[in-house]
């Protein structure tokens, strides 16, 4: 019996010591939740409940997916088609805010979380100036939209000005022309290119004098992060769904990690 007890106690210790990789942790890495608490949680991404839980978990802030309604309201929503997660269908830009605010997420049984506007978020997050937010600008537009990017940029500028967010907001986009227009609007915006490859991102970021590169952890190495740093560019990584991917991400020494394992990464770095 004693032998078995020793075996039961010692075995997990052996495994845990084997799985921990020796590395130096950079505690200055900024921990952001991915749309709040990340993918695959019972709080849908980008809801008030998810973002607040993330901020209350000890993170530095949150990434938020941002889309534009037909009447120019910026809302926090991830997917292209509303039918993937809500009781509506089509893109956010097909609807006015009055319709979107009555929609609800249908991903989990019995739950009816609402879609959030950025105005609602910043009007109701306590001490929001203490946190950092990264706006992933999703440019999904309605077929009938006119001057979509200009309308988007105007709404974005208004919300940043209204809540004085310039110092604690980062803006990401895959669209180079959108980033150019934003830069023209205000050269002090902290802009990130969201490229398909690191090389492509580095070239665009240098050409446009951007603040940094947002890239999947699968598409970037530690050496490439160093290369970006040597060019005075910040690096934000995402796609860190598992504990191992978070450890791997930390090992690459980026400036930001947008994580789907919020509590784990906070326990690791904070």
């Amino acid at each position: 019996m004693k032998k078995y007890l020793t075996f039961i106690i010692v075995l997990p210790l052996i495994f845990s010591s084997c799985s921990k990789k020796e590395m130096t942790l950079n505690h200055n890495i900024i921990v952001l939740g991915h749309g709040g608490m990340g993918i695959g949680q019972t709080y849908p991404m980008n809801t008030f409940e998810s973002i607040l839980t993330c901020l209350n978990s000890g993170t530095d802030g949150s990434e938020i997916d941002v889309q534009l309604t037909k009447d120019g309201v910026l809302v926090a929503y991830h997917g292209q088609d509303l039918s993937d997660e809500t009781n509506l269908s089509g893109v956010i830009n097909d609807y006015n805010w009055s319709e979107i605010k009555n929609a609800f997420y249908t991903s989990s049984p019995y739950l009816k979380y609402s879609i959030l506007s950025l105005d609602q978020l910043f009007a109701n997050v306590p001490n929001f100036k203490d946190y950092k937010f990264s706006f992933d600008c999703k440019l999904y537009k309605s077929n009938s939209a006119i001057n979509f990017k200009e309308a988007y940029i105007n709404s974005l500028s208004e919300i940043i000005a209204k809540y004085d967010l310039k110092s604690n907001v980062y803006i990401e986009s895959q669209d180079t022309s959108f980033l150019i227009k934003l830069k023209e609007k205000d050269p002090d915006y902290k802009l990130f290119i969201y490229p398909s490859t690191f090389e492509n991102g580095l070239a665009i970021a240098l050409a446009l004098d951007l603040y940094g590169i947002t890239i999947s952890t699968k598409k970037v190495t530690r050496e490439q992060v160093e290369e970006a740093h040597s060019n005075n560019l910040k690096v934000a990584i995402w796609n860190t769904h598992s504990k191992n991917k978070n450890i791997n991400g930390v090992d690459k020494n980026p400036d930001f990690i947008q994580t789907d394992k919020v509590r784990y990464l906070v326990s690791l770095l904070k």
Partner: protein
């Protein structure tokens, strides 16, 4: 909706009392079952108790209740759990291998951000559950059940759902 729930509980109570009263050959063995349910009436999972109220040859009638939650703390990090209470009635036919039909109601009390001041607010609702499945009852009390268990959320929206149960009958 509250009236419907009350009527349903009265129906369950009446049915179970009637069944117990009529059961002259009282057999107290294997009346109680504790089981965990993946998906099913409780959302993503629940712990449950089931009581066998009537047995006529191979036909059996039982009532069940359980408990589940999505979050124990609300988004402000205070202890303020979501509460999910499934109740139901099951009719099943067989000895070891059974076909099982279920009907129930799930009471939910979930914390949301109030749309006006974004403070936590508890919203209560009632949902209907149906189920049809296969139920295995081993001689040593092992219970296994698998089935199709659609939910009519808020008595309005139909959702395809399933259930997988493991338990112990004693």
């Amino acid at each position: 909706m509250k009236r419907e729930a009350l009527l349903f509980f009265l129906f369950l109570l009446h049915f179970s009392n009637l069944a117990v009263a009529q059961n002259s050959e009282k057999d107290n063995s294997h009346r109680h079952t504790l089981f965990i349910e993946a998906m099913g009436y409780g959302g993503y999972g629940s712990v449950n108790y089931e009581y066998l109220v009537k047995k006529i040859h191979k036909l059996k009638l039982s009532v069940r209740t359980g408990l589940s939650t999505y979050h124990l703390n609300d988004y402000t990090n205070k202890f303020n759990p979501d509460v999910i209470i499934p109740v139901g009635i099951n009719v099943y036919y067989g000895t070891k291998h059974n076909i099982d039909f279920g009907l129930g109601q799930t009471i939910t009390s979930i914390i949301y951000a109030n749309n006006l001041d974004f403070q936590p607010k508890r919203l209560n609702a009632l949902h209907t559950n149906l189920s049809i499945g296969y139920r295995y009852e081993g001689e040593k009390g092992f219970l296994f059940k698998i089935g199709y268990a659609p939910i009519i959320e808020n008595q309005k929206t139909f959702r395809h759902w399933a259930l997988l149960d493991f338990g112990y009958t004693f």
